[in-house]
Protein backbone atom coordinates (compact mmCIF):
# COMPACT_ATOMS: atom_id res chain seq x y z
CA UNK A 1 0.00 0.00 0.00
CA UNK A 2 1.41 3.34 -0.96
CA UNK A 3 0.21 6.63 0.27
CA UNK A 4 -0.53 9.18 -2.41
CA UNK A 5 1.53 12.31 -2.43
CA UNK A 6 0.47 14.19 0.69
CA UNK A 7 0.45 17.50 -1.12
CA UNK A 8 -1.95 16.28 -3.76
CA UNK A 9 -4.40 14.88 -1.25
CA UNK A 10 -4.10 17.89 0.94
CA UNK A 11 -3.23 15.70 3.90
CA UNK A 12 -0.29 17.85 4.74
CA UNK A 13 0.28 21.43 3.98
CA UNK A 14 3.29 23.60 4.36
CA UNK A 15 2.78 26.82 6.20
CA UNK A 16 5.26 29.62 6.45
CA UNK A 17 4.50 31.76 9.40
CA UNK A 18 5.61 34.92 11.08
CA UNK A 19 7.17 34.90 14.49
CA UNK A 20 8.63 32.07 16.44
CA UNK A 21 7.14 29.50 18.73
CA UNK A 22 6.57 30.88 22.20
CA UNK A 23 8.01 34.20 21.17
CA UNK A 24 6.76 36.90 23.45
CA UNK A 25 7.28 40.56 23.75
CA UNK A 26 9.36 41.28 26.76
CA UNK A 27 9.72 44.67 28.36
CA UNK A 28 12.72 46.58 27.11
CA UNK A 29 15.84 46.25 29.17
CA UNK A 30 18.64 48.73 29.09
CA UNK A 31 21.91 46.90 29.69
CA UNK A 32 24.52 48.48 31.83
CA UNK A 33 27.62 49.96 30.31
CA UNK A 34 30.22 47.40 29.48
CA UNK A 35 27.91 44.45 29.46
CA UNK A 36 28.33 41.93 26.72
CA UNK A 37 25.65 40.84 24.29
CA UNK A 38 22.59 40.16 26.34
CA UNK A 39 19.72 37.92 25.46
CA UNK A 40 16.23 38.58 26.71
CA UNK A 41 14.19 35.46 27.16
CA UNK A 42 10.70 35.18 28.44
CA UNK A 43 10.30 31.92 30.32
CA UNK A 44 6.58 31.35 30.38
CA UNK A 45 3.67 31.78 30.73
CA UNK A 46 3.68 28.57 28.77
CA UNK A 47 6.83 26.77 29.82
CA UNK A 48 7.22 23.22 31.08
CA UNK A 49 8.89 24.27 34.29
CA UNK A 50 6.97 27.25 35.52
CA UNK A 51 4.49 25.04 37.36
CA UNK A 52 1.55 26.58 35.62
CA UNK A 53 1.09 29.91 34.00
CA UNK A 54 3.90 31.98 35.40
CA UNK A 55 6.41 34.01 33.52
CA UNK A 56 9.95 35.01 34.27
CA UNK A 57 11.37 37.76 32.12
CA UNK A 58 15.01 36.87 32.10
CA UNK A 59 17.99 38.75 30.73
CA UNK A 60 20.88 36.45 30.03
CA UNK A 61 24.56 37.00 29.57
CA UNK A 62 25.42 33.74 27.89
CA UNK A 63 23.48 31.45 30.19
CA UNK A 64 24.02 33.59 33.29
CA UNK A 65 21.04 35.49 34.57
CA UNK A 66 21.63 39.21 35.01
CA UNK A 67 18.02 40.18 35.55
CA UNK A 68 14.86 38.27 36.33
CA UNK A 69 11.43 39.76 36.73
CA UNK A 70 8.56 37.50 37.66
CA UNK A 71 5.29 38.32 35.91
CA UNK A 72 2.11 37.26 37.64
CA UNK A 73 -1.58 37.33 37.03
CA UNK A 74 -2.03 34.72 34.32
CA UNK A 75 -4.22 32.79 36.70
CA UNK A 76 -5.76 35.73 38.51
CA UNK A 77 -9.25 34.36 38.97
CA UNK A 78 -10.58 37.11 41.22
CA UNK A 79 -10.87 34.85 44.21
CA UNK A 80 -10.94 37.75 46.65
CA UNK A 81 -13.57 39.66 44.72
CA UNK A 82 -15.73 36.56 44.47
CA UNK A 83 -15.27 35.99 48.19
CA UNK A 84 -16.80 39.38 48.88
CA UNK A 85 -19.90 38.41 46.96
CA UNK A 86 -20.35 34.96 48.43
CA UNK A 87 -21.61 33.79 51.79
CA UNK A 88 -19.10 32.57 54.35
CA UNK A 89 -20.00 28.98 53.61
CA UNK A 90 -19.99 29.56 49.87
CA UNK A 91 -16.33 30.59 49.94
CA UNK A 92 -15.27 27.27 51.41
CA UNK A 93 -15.27 25.35 48.10
CA UNK A 94 -13.42 28.24 46.50
CA UNK A 95 -10.58 27.88 48.99
CA UNK A 96 -10.10 24.34 47.65
CA UNK A 97 -9.05 25.90 44.40
CA UNK A 98 -6.40 28.22 45.85
CA UNK A 99 -3.56 25.83 46.42
CA UNK A 100 -5.20 23.01 44.58
CA UNK A 101 -2.79 20.42 45.91
CA UNK A 102 -3.72 21.13 49.52
CA UNK A 103 -7.42 21.81 49.73
CA UNK A 104 -7.52 20.38 53.25
CA UNK A 105 -5.14 22.92 54.73
CA UNK A 106 -6.73 25.79 52.81
CA UNK A 107 -10.08 24.77 54.24
CA UNK A 108 -8.60 24.70 57.70
CA UNK A 109 -7.00 28.11 57.40
CA UNK A 110 -10.26 29.60 56.20
CA UNK A 111 -12.24 27.82 58.90
CA UNK A 112 -9.85 29.12 61.55
CA UNK A 113 -10.27 32.68 60.31
CA UNK A 114 -14.04 32.42 60.34
CA UNK A 115 -14.01 30.74 63.74
CA UNK A 116 -11.96 33.61 65.08
CA UNK A 117 -14.24 36.14 63.46
CA UNK A 118 -17.45 34.59 64.74
CA UNK A 119 -16.12 33.04 67.93
CA UNK A 120 -16.93 29.44 67.12
CA UNK A 121 -15.47 26.61 69.18
CA UNK A 122 -14.18 23.45 67.52
CA UNK A 123 -14.84 20.01 68.91
CA UNK A 124 -12.00 17.86 70.12
CA UNK A 125 -12.50 15.06 67.63
CA UNK A 126 -12.66 17.54 64.77
CA UNK A 127 -9.35 19.04 65.85
CA UNK A 128 -7.73 15.64 65.63
CA UNK A 129 -9.29 14.91 62.27
CA UNK A 130 -8.04 18.26 61.03
CA UNK A 131 -4.54 17.43 62.14
CA UNK A 132 -4.70 14.04 60.44
CA UNK A 133 -5.90 15.54 57.19
CA UNK A 134 -3.47 18.43 57.30
CA UNK A 135 -0.54 16.10 57.81
CA UNK A 136 -1.73 13.81 55.03
CA UNK A 137 -1.94 16.91 52.90
CA UNK A 138 1.61 17.84 53.88
CA UNK A 139 2.82 14.39 52.85
CA UNK A 140 1.02 14.77 49.58
CA UNK A 141 2.38 18.23 48.89
CA UNK A 142 5.98 17.48 49.77
CA UNK A 143 5.96 14.23 47.81
CA UNK A 144 4.60 15.92 44.73
CA UNK A 145 6.99 18.82 45.15
CA UNK A 146 9.97 16.49 45.23
CA UNK A 147 8.67 14.82 42.09
CA UNK A 148 8.19 18.11 40.28
CA UNK A 149 11.55 19.41 41.44
CA UNK A 150 13.29 16.36 40.04
CA UNK A 151 11.31 16.76 36.84
CA UNK A 152 12.74 20.28 36.65
CA UNK A 153 16.18 18.83 37.22
CA UNK A 154 15.65 16.79 34.09
CA UNK A 155 14.40 13.41 35.25
CA UNK A 156 12.26 11.65 32.68
CA UNK A 157 9.25 11.41 34.88
CA UNK A 158 10.27 8.53 37.12
CA UNK A 159 10.40 10.35 40.50
CA UNK A 160 7.20 12.17 39.57
CA UNK A 161 5.53 8.89 38.75
CA UNK A 162 6.53 7.39 42.08
CA UNK A 163 5.37 10.54 43.85
CA UNK A 164 2.03 10.43 42.10
CA UNK A 165 1.72 6.73 42.84
CA UNK A 166 1.76 7.61 46.53
CA UNK A 167 -0.35 10.71 45.93
CA UNK A 168 -3.09 8.50 44.52
CA UNK A 169 -3.13 6.54 47.74
CA UNK A 170 -3.63 9.70 49.78
CA UNK A 171 -6.22 10.96 47.30
CA UNK A 172 -8.09 7.70 47.68
CA UNK A 173 -8.32 8.47 51.39
CA UNK A 174 -9.49 12.01 50.72
CA UNK A 175 -11.99 10.80 48.20
CA UNK A 176 -13.50 8.11 50.37
CA UNK A 177 -13.82 10.62 53.20
CA UNK A 178 -14.85 13.83 51.52
CA UNK A 179 -16.13 12.62 48.17
CA UNK A 180 -13.64 14.36 45.96
CA UNK A 181 -10.04 13.72 45.07
CA UNK A 182 -8.77 17.25 45.07
CA UNK A 183 -11.54 19.65 45.98
CA UNK A 184 -12.43 18.28 49.37
CA UNK A 185 -14.59 21.11 50.74
CA UNK A 186 -14.30 19.28 54.01
CA UNK A 187 -13.85 21.65 56.93
CA UNK A 188 -16.79 23.46 58.42
CA UNK A 189 -16.94 26.28 60.92
CA UNK A 190 -16.64 24.49 64.24
CA UNK A 191 -15.55 21.13 62.92
CA UNK A 192 -15.68 18.92 59.87
CA UNK A 193 -18.32 17.74 57.49
CA UNK A 194 -18.00 13.96 57.71
CA UNK A 195 -16.99 11.68 60.53
CA UNK A 196 -14.37 9.21 59.37
CA UNK A 197 -15.36 5.59 59.71
CA UNK A 198 -13.31 2.88 61.37
CA UNK A 199 -12.41 1.48 57.96
CA UNK A 200 -11.15 4.86 56.85
CA UNK A 201 -8.99 5.16 59.93
CA UNK A 202 -7.65 1.66 59.35
CA UNK A 203 -6.81 2.53 55.76
CA UNK A 204 -5.06 5.68 56.93
CA UNK A 205 -3.13 3.70 59.48
CA UNK A 206 -2.02 1.33 56.73
CA UNK A 207 -0.87 4.21 54.54
CA UNK A 208 0.99 5.87 57.39
CA UNK A 209 2.73 2.63 58.26
CA UNK A 210 3.86 2.13 54.69
CA UNK A 211 4.90 5.66 53.93
CA UNK A 212 8.28 5.45 55.58
CA UNK A 213 9.27 2.61 53.27
CA UNK A 214 8.27 4.67 50.26
CA UNK A 215 10.32 7.61 51.51
CA UNK A 216 13.31 5.33 51.96
CA UNK A 217 13.06 4.14 48.39
CA UNK A 218 12.45 7.64 47.08
CA UNK A 219 15.47 8.95 48.92
CA UNK A 220 17.58 6.05 47.69
CA UNK A 221 16.67 7.13 44.19
CA UNK A 222 17.41 10.80 44.70
CA UNK A 223 18.88 12.13 47.92
CA UNK A 224 22.28 10.51 47.52
CA UNK A 225 22.38 10.84 43.77
CA UNK A 226 25.54 12.67 42.75
CA UNK A 227 23.84 14.47 39.89
CA UNK A 228 21.06 15.69 42.16
CA UNK A 229 23.60 16.91 44.70
CA UNK A 230 25.69 18.61 42.06
CA UNK A 231 22.66 20.30 40.61
CA UNK A 232 21.09 21.46 43.85
CA UNK A 233 23.85 22.07 46.40
CA UNK A 234 25.02 25.65 46.56
CA UNK A 235 22.29 26.78 44.17
CA UNK A 236 19.89 29.52 45.20
CA UNK A 237 21.23 30.27 48.66
CA UNK A 238 18.82 32.25 50.81
CA UNK A 239 20.29 33.95 53.91
CA UNK A 240 18.15 33.71 57.03
CA UNK A 241 17.90 37.46 57.62
CA UNK A 242 16.63 38.12 54.12
CA UNK A 243 14.23 35.22 54.37
CA UNK A 244 12.60 36.61 57.51
CA UNK A 245 12.49 40.16 56.22
CA UNK A 246 10.98 39.06 52.93
CA UNK A 247 8.20 37.22 54.70
CA UNK A 248 9.33 33.83 53.46
CA UNK A 249 7.62 31.10 55.43
CA UNK A 250 7.30 27.37 55.56
CA UNK A 251 9.94 24.82 54.63
CA UNK A 252 11.77 27.45 52.64
CA UNK A 253 12.36 29.58 55.74
CA UNK A 254 13.36 26.56 57.77
CA UNK A 255 15.83 25.47 55.08
CA UNK A 256 17.57 28.78 55.69
CA UNK A 257 18.07 27.83 59.31
CA UNK A 258 15.17 29.60 61.02
CA UNK A 259 13.20 27.21 63.18
CA UNK A 260 9.88 28.94 62.65
CA UNK A 261 6.93 26.61 62.43
CA UNK A 262 3.46 27.92 63.21
CA UNK A 263 2.50 24.52 64.54
CA UNK A 264 4.98 25.24 67.33
CA UNK A 265 4.78 29.05 67.40
CA UNK A 266 1.02 29.53 67.35
CA UNK A 267 0.23 26.08 68.65
CA UNK A 268 -3.14 26.18 66.92
CA UNK A 269 -5.49 23.24 66.97
CA UNK A 270 -4.17 20.40 69.09
CA UNK A 271 -0.61 20.52 67.80
CA UNK A 272 0.91 21.26 71.23
CA UNK A 273 -0.18 17.76 72.26
CA UNK A 274 2.02 16.07 69.70
CA UNK A 275 5.64 15.35 69.97
CA UNK A 276 7.47 16.29 66.80
CA UNK A 277 10.61 18.09 65.69
CA UNK A 278 11.22 20.88 63.24
CA UNK A 279 14.07 20.11 60.84
CA UNK A 280 16.16 23.07 59.75
CA UNK A 281 18.79 23.50 57.08
CA UNK A 282 22.15 25.23 57.19
CA UNK A 283 22.86 26.50 53.72
CA UNK A 284 19.43 27.50 52.55
CA UNK A 285 20.05 26.16 49.07
CA UNK A 286 17.85 24.04 46.87
CA UNK A 287 19.16 20.80 48.33
CA UNK A 288 18.36 21.97 51.86
CA UNK A 289 14.87 22.93 50.80
CA UNK A 290 14.39 19.49 49.32
CA UNK A 291 15.86 17.67 52.31
CA UNK A 292 13.96 19.73 54.89
CA UNK A 293 10.75 18.67 53.20
CA UNK A 294 11.88 15.06 53.20
CA UNK A 295 12.59 15.23 56.91
CA UNK A 296 9.35 17.06 57.58
CA UNK A 297 7.48 14.20 56.00
CA UNK A 298 9.04 11.82 58.49
CA UNK A 299 7.85 14.09 61.31
CA UNK A 300 4.41 14.19 59.72
CA UNK A 301 4.32 10.41 59.81
CA UNK A 302 5.07 10.58 63.51
CA UNK A 303 2.32 13.18 64.10
CA UNK A 304 -0.13 11.07 62.13
CA UNK A 305 0.79 8.07 64.17
CA UNK A 306 0.15 9.94 67.43
CA UNK A 307 -3.06 11.53 66.16
CA UNK A 308 -4.49 8.25 64.95
CA UNK A 309 -3.70 6.66 68.26
CA UNK A 310 -5.11 9.48 70.35
CA UNK A 311 -8.22 10.23 68.29
CA UNK A 312 -11.01 10.88 70.80
CA UNK A 313 -14.69 10.20 70.30
CA UNK A 314 -17.47 12.73 70.31
CA UNK A 315 -19.17 14.94 67.78
CA UNK A 316 -17.30 16.31 64.79
CA UNK A 317 -19.20 19.56 64.59
CA UNK A 318 -19.92 22.01 67.35
CA UNK A 319 -23.73 21.79 67.70
CA UNK A 320 -23.92 25.54 68.34
CA UNK A 321 -22.06 26.37 65.16
CA UNK A 322 -23.87 27.76 62.18
CA UNK A 323 -22.93 27.18 58.56
CA UNK A 324 -25.60 28.58 56.31
CA UNK A 325 -26.55 32.17 56.88
CA UNK A 326 -23.64 32.94 59.16
CA UNK A 327 -23.58 36.62 60.05
CA UNK A 328 -20.65 37.45 62.30
CA UNK A 329 -20.59 40.68 64.25
CA UNK A 330 -18.85 43.58 62.55
CA UNK A 331 -15.14 43.24 63.05
CA UNK A 332 -12.15 41.60 61.54
CA UNK A 333 -9.94 38.59 62.07
CA UNK A 334 -6.72 37.22 60.66
CA UNK A 335 -6.32 33.48 60.98
CA UNK A 336 -3.27 31.60 59.84
CA UNK A 337 -1.91 28.09 59.89
CA UNK A 338 1.25 26.35 58.81
CA UNK A 339 0.32 25.09 55.40
CA UNK A 340 2.63 22.76 53.51
CA UNK A 341 3.93 25.72 51.52
CA UNK A 342 4.16 28.12 54.43
CA UNK A 343 1.95 30.46 56.34
CA UNK A 344 -1.46 30.48 54.74
CA UNK A 345 -3.74 33.07 56.27
CA UNK A 346 -7.16 34.53 55.71
CA UNK A 347 -8.04 38.08 56.67
CA UNK A 348 -11.76 38.65 56.93
CA UNK A 349 -13.61 41.85 57.59
CA UNK A 350 -17.25 41.55 58.48
CA UNK A 351 -19.81 44.33 58.46
CA UNK A 352 -22.44 42.19 60.10
CA UNK A 353 -24.00 40.93 56.86
CA UNK A 354 -23.89 37.48 55.38
CA UNK A 355 -20.94 38.27 53.12
CA UNK A 356 -17.53 39.51 54.20
CA UNK A 357 -16.69 43.05 53.09
CA UNK A 358 -13.08 42.06 52.70
CA UNK A 359 -11.84 38.59 52.03
CA UNK A 360 -8.09 38.46 51.75
CA UNK A 361 -5.86 35.45 51.22
CA UNK A 362 -2.31 35.61 52.46
CA UNK A 363 -0.86 33.11 50.06
CA UNK A 364 2.51 31.62 51.01
CA UNK A 365 3.52 30.91 47.42
CA UNK A 366 2.98 34.52 46.46
CA UNK A 367 5.02 36.03 49.26
CA UNK A 368 7.74 33.41 48.94
CA UNK A 369 8.28 34.52 45.35
CA UNK A 370 9.43 37.95 46.53
CA UNK A 371 13.04 36.82 46.67
CA UNK A 372 13.01 34.86 43.42
CA UNK A 373 15.21 37.36 41.61
CA UNK A 374 17.70 37.52 44.49
CA UNK A 375 18.06 33.77 44.41
CA UNK A 376 18.49 33.49 40.67
CA UNK A 377 20.92 36.29 39.88
CA UNK A 378 24.25 34.97 38.73
CA UNK A 379 22.95 31.47 38.18
CA UNK A 380 22.10 29.88 34.86
CA UNK A 381 18.70 29.26 33.32
CA UNK A 382 18.86 25.64 34.40
CA UNK A 383 19.32 26.78 37.98
CA UNK A 384 16.52 29.31 37.82
CA UNK A 385 14.18 26.50 36.88
CA UNK A 386 15.07 24.38 39.90
CA UNK A 387 15.15 27.39 42.23
CA UNK A 388 11.60 28.12 41.19
CA UNK A 389 10.80 24.46 41.68
CA UNK A 390 12.25 24.48 45.17
CA UNK A 391 10.20 27.50 46.22
CA UNK A 392 7.16 25.31 45.68
CA UNK A 393 4.54 27.53 44.18
CA UNK A 394 1.05 26.80 43.01
CA UNK A 395 -0.27 29.42 40.67
CA UNK A 396 -3.81 29.20 41.91
CA UNK A 397 -2.50 30.60 45.15
CA UNK A 398 0.03 33.04 43.71
CA UNK A 399 -2.46 34.82 41.50
CA UNK A 400 -5.63 33.88 43.37
Amino acid sequence: MMLPDPASTGLARVRKIEGSALGLRTPAFAPEEGAGDLLEVSLGPHHPSTHGVFRMDVVLDGERIVRLKPVFGYLHRNHEKLGEGTSYLGSMPYTDRLDYLNSMTNNWAYAIAVEKLAGIAVTERAEYIRVILAELSRLLNHTCLAGFLMQDCGCSGTPLMYAFREREKILDLFESLSGSRMMCNFQRFGGCRVDPSAEWLAATRKLVDGYGAFLDEFEALLSGNEIVMARTQGVGRLPAALAVNAGVTGPMLRASGVGHDLRKVDGYGVYPRFNFRVPIGREGDVYDRYMVRMLEMRESISILDQALRGLPGGPILDPKSKQRGLRPKAGEAYGRIEGPKGEIGFFLVSDGTGNPTRYRVRAPSFVNLTILEDLCLGHSVADAVIILGSIDIVLGEVDR
Binding site: G73, G119, G247, A330, A333, G345, S350, R360, V367
Partner: protein, 220 residues
Protein backbone atom coordinates in the same frame (compact mmCIF):
# COMPACT_ATOMS: atom_id res chain seq x y z
CA UNK B 1 4.37 41.36 74.53
CA UNK B 2 3.06 44.48 76.12
CA UNK B 3 -0.62 45.34 75.90
CA UNK B 4 -1.84 47.36 72.92
CA UNK B 5 -2.54 50.31 75.15
CA UNK B 6 0.97 50.26 76.56
CA UNK B 7 2.36 50.01 73.07
CA UNK B 8 0.24 52.92 71.95
CA UNK B 9 1.51 55.02 74.82
CA UNK B 10 5.05 54.06 74.13
CA UNK B 11 4.70 54.91 70.46
CA UNK B 12 3.07 58.23 71.27
CA UNK B 13 5.90 59.04 73.59
CA UNK B 14 8.43 58.12 70.96
CA UNK B 15 6.66 59.92 68.10
CA UNK B 16 5.03 62.91 69.74
CA UNK B 17 3.47 64.41 66.65
CA UNK B 18 1.97 61.25 65.28
CA UNK B 19 -1.75 60.77 65.43
CA UNK B 20 -2.06 57.26 66.61
CA UNK B 21 -5.37 55.67 67.22
CA UNK B 22 -6.20 52.31 68.68
CA UNK B 23 -8.93 50.78 66.52
CA UNK B 24 -11.18 48.42 68.41
CA UNK B 25 -12.34 45.19 66.88
CA UNK B 26 -15.93 44.13 67.39
CA UNK B 27 -15.35 40.50 66.63
CA UNK B 28 -14.39 37.85 69.18
CA UNK B 29 -10.96 37.66 67.60
CA UNK B 30 -10.00 40.77 69.56
CA UNK B 31 -7.25 41.71 67.14
CA UNK B 32 -6.95 45.43 67.73
CA UNK B 33 -5.02 47.61 65.34
CA UNK B 34 -3.26 50.96 65.25
CA UNK B 35 -4.28 53.59 62.79
CA UNK B 36 -1.31 55.77 62.02
CA UNK B 37 -0.87 59.10 60.36
CA UNK B 38 0.67 58.21 56.98
CA UNK B 39 3.40 60.81 57.49
CA UNK B 40 4.77 58.75 60.36
CA UNK B 41 4.01 55.33 58.99
CA UNK B 42 7.47 54.42 57.82
CA UNK B 43 9.23 55.70 60.91
CA UNK B 44 6.86 53.85 63.19
CA UNK B 45 7.29 50.72 61.11
CA UNK B 46 11.04 50.94 61.29
CA UNK B 47 10.84 51.47 65.04
CA UNK B 48 8.60 48.44 65.45
CA UNK B 49 11.01 46.34 63.44
CA UNK B 50 14.14 47.48 65.23
CA UNK B 51 12.86 47.79 68.78
CA UNK B 52 14.55 44.92 70.63
CA UNK B 53 11.49 44.14 72.72
CA UNK B 54 9.08 44.08 69.84
CA UNK B 55 11.38 42.89 67.05
CA UNK B 56 8.55 42.72 64.55
CA UNK B 57 10.80 41.38 61.86
CA UNK B 58 8.15 39.89 59.62
CA UNK B 59 5.41 41.71 57.81
CA UNK B 60 3.17 38.82 57.05
CA UNK B 61 0.23 40.31 55.27
CA UNK B 62 -0.59 43.53 53.45
CA UNK B 63 -4.22 44.17 52.71
CA UNK B 64 -6.13 46.89 50.96
CA UNK B 65 -9.56 47.91 52.08
CA UNK B 66 -11.98 50.12 50.24
CA UNK B 67 -14.56 52.29 51.92
CA UNK B 68 -16.54 53.92 49.16
CA UNK B 69 -18.11 57.33 49.35
CA UNK B 70 -21.34 57.02 51.18
CA UNK B 71 -24.35 59.10 51.81
CA UNK B 72 -24.71 60.34 55.33
CA UNK B 73 -28.00 61.63 56.52
CA UNK B 74 -27.46 64.26 59.14
CA UNK B 75 -29.87 66.15 61.20
CA UNK B 76 -28.93 69.76 61.19
CA UNK B 77 -30.33 72.06 63.80
CA UNK B 78 -30.73 75.54 62.64
CA UNK B 79 -31.68 78.29 64.91
CA UNK B 80 -33.22 81.33 63.43
CA UNK B 81 -34.02 84.40 65.25
CA UNK B 82 -37.63 84.01 66.16
CA UNK B 83 -40.05 86.63 67.13
CA UNK B 84 -38.34 89.60 68.56
CA UNK B 85 -37.64 89.04 72.17
CA UNK B 86 -38.67 85.46 72.03
CA UNK B 87 -36.33 82.49 71.93
CA UNK B 88 -34.83 81.60 68.59
CA UNK B 89 -36.80 79.10 66.58
CA UNK B 90 -34.89 75.91 66.20
CA UNK B 91 -35.73 73.94 63.11
CA UNK B 92 -34.41 70.49 62.48
CA UNK B 93 -33.56 69.69 58.91
CA UNK B 94 -32.36 66.45 57.45
CA UNK B 95 -29.55 66.86 55.06
CA UNK B 96 -27.70 64.27 53.05
CA UNK B 97 -24.06 64.66 52.57
CA UNK B 98 -21.56 62.59 50.64
CA UNK B 99 -18.95 61.44 53.11
CA UNK B 100 -15.79 60.91 51.10
CA UNK B 101 -14.55 57.37 51.19
CA UNK B 102 -10.98 56.31 51.57
CA UNK B 103 -8.64 53.50 50.84
CA UNK B 104 -6.94 51.79 53.72
CA UNK B 105 -3.90 49.60 53.84
CA UNK B 106 -3.50 47.13 56.68
CA UNK B 107 -0.21 45.52 57.66
CA UNK B 108 -0.04 42.41 59.85
CA UNK B 109 3.27 42.29 61.69
CA UNK B 110 4.73 39.34 63.52
CA UNK B 111 7.98 38.64 65.25
CA UNK B 112 9.79 35.51 64.19
CA UNK B 113 12.56 36.08 66.70
CA UNK B 114 10.28 36.64 69.68
CA UNK B 115 7.33 34.63 68.42
CA UNK B 116 4.59 37.11 69.04
CA UNK B 117 2.09 39.08 67.06
CA UNK B 118 0.12 40.25 65.35
CA UNK B 119 0.57 43.96 65.62
CA UNK B 120 -1.71 45.48 63.03
CA UNK B 121 -1.00 48.82 61.39
CA UNK B 122 -3.49 50.71 59.32
CA UNK B 123 -3.11 53.82 57.25
CA UNK B 124 -5.72 55.69 55.27
CA UNK B 125 -5.51 57.69 52.12
CA UNK B 126 -7.17 61.08 51.96
CA UNK B 127 -9.80 60.01 49.48
CA UNK B 128 -10.30 57.58 46.65
CA UNK B 129 -9.57 59.79 43.69
CA UNK B 130 -6.56 62.07 43.91
CA UNK B 131 -5.03 61.79 47.37
CA UNK B 132 -4.33 58.12 47.15
CA UNK B 133 -0.70 57.92 48.06
CA UNK B 134 0.79 56.30 51.13
CA UNK B 135 4.40 55.69 52.04
CA UNK B 136 5.66 52.28 50.98
CA UNK B 137 6.92 49.94 53.66
CA UNK B 138 8.99 47.91 51.21
CA UNK B 139 12.19 49.59 52.44
CA UNK B 140 11.35 48.26 55.89
CA UNK B 141 10.05 44.83 55.01
CA UNK B 142 10.87 43.23 51.68
CA UNK B 143 7.73 41.13 51.93
CA UNK B 144 5.67 44.23 51.19
CA UNK B 145 7.11 44.50 47.68
CA UNK B 146 4.68 42.32 45.78
CA UNK B 147 1.82 42.75 48.21
CA UNK B 148 1.95 46.53 47.89
CA UNK B 149 2.09 46.17 44.14
CA UNK B 150 -1.03 44.09 44.40
CA UNK B 151 -2.78 46.75 46.50
CA UNK B 152 -1.73 49.33 43.93
CA UNK B 153 -3.06 47.18 41.13
CA UNK B 154 -6.38 46.22 42.65
CA UNK B 155 -7.16 49.27 44.79
CA UNK B 156 -5.15 52.05 43.23
CA UNK B 157 -3.15 53.08 46.29
CA UNK B 158 0.09 54.71 45.16
CA UNK B 159 2.98 53.75 47.39
CA UNK B 160 5.63 56.45 47.62
CA UNK B 161 9.10 55.03 47.66
CA UNK B 162 8.21 51.65 46.25
CA UNK B 163 11.10 50.41 44.08
CA UNK B 164 9.02 48.96 41.28
CA UNK B 165 5.41 50.03 41.42
CA UNK B 166 3.74 48.39 38.44
CA UNK B 167 0.58 46.42 37.99
CA UNK B 168 1.11 42.90 39.13
CA UNK B 169 -2.00 40.84 38.51
CA UNK B 170 -3.73 42.73 35.73
CA UNK B 171 -1.99 43.66 32.54
CA UNK B 172 -0.19 46.97 32.15
CA UNK B 173 -2.70 48.55 29.77
CA UNK B 174 -5.56 47.89 32.19
CA UNK B 175 -7.08 51.03 33.64
CA UNK B 176 -9.46 50.03 36.43
CA UNK B 177 -8.91 48.98 40.01
CA UNK B 178 -11.11 45.93 40.23
CA UNK B 179 -11.19 45.35 43.97
CA UNK B 180 -12.79 48.71 44.58
CA UNK B 181 -16.39 48.35 45.54
CA UNK B 182 -17.59 50.56 42.71
CA UNK B 183 -15.69 48.77 39.96
CA UNK B 184 -17.91 47.90 37.04
CA UNK B 185 -16.93 44.79 35.15
CA UNK B 186 -16.65 44.91 31.39
CA UNK B 187 -19.71 43.63 29.65
CA UNK B 188 -18.52 40.25 28.48
CA UNK B 189 -21.62 38.49 29.51
CA UNK B 190 -21.59 34.79 28.92
CA UNK B 191 -24.85 33.42 27.73
CA UNK B 192 -25.97 31.33 30.61
CA UNK B 193 -28.56 28.66 30.37
CA UNK B 194 -29.41 29.31 33.98
CA UNK B 195 -30.14 32.99 34.23
CA UNK B 196 -30.86 34.46 37.61
CA UNK B 197 -32.50 37.76 38.25
CA UNK B 198 -29.54 40.06 38.08
CA UNK B 199 -27.82 37.89 35.51
CA UNK B 200 -30.88 38.18 33.36
CA UNK B 201 -30.87 41.94 33.57
CA UNK B 202 -27.27 41.83 32.45
CA UNK B 203 -28.21 39.52 29.62
CA UNK B 204 -30.85 41.92 28.40
CA UNK B 205 -28.29 44.70 28.31
CA UNK B 206 -25.82 42.52 26.54
CA UNK B 207 -28.11 41.02 23.96
CA UNK B 208 -30.50 43.80 23.06
CA UNK B 209 -32.15 41.57 20.50
CA UNK B 210 -33.34 39.36 23.30
CA UNK B 211 -35.53 42.10 24.60
CA UNK B 212 -37.07 42.67 21.20
CA UNK B 213 -40.57 41.33 20.77
CA UNK B 214 -40.76 37.93 19.25
CA UNK B 215 -37.49 36.71 20.70
CA UNK B 216 -37.96 33.95 23.15
CA UNK B 217 -36.97 34.92 26.62
CA UNK B 218 -36.63 33.07 29.80
CA UNK B 219 -38.98 34.15 32.46
CA UNK B 220 -37.20 35.90 35.25
Amino acid sequence: MESPEALRDRLLARFPGASLELVANGSPSGQVSFRIDPAFLREVARFLRDDPELALDQCSNVTGLDSPDREVVETVKESQPGAPGGPPVVTERKQTRIAPGHLEVIYHLYSVARRHGPVILRARTGNRTDAVSLPSLTPVWRSCEFQEREVFDLYGVVFEGHPDLRRILMWDAFTGHPMRKDYVEPDDYEWEPTPHGDVLAKARRHYPSAAAPGAAQPSP
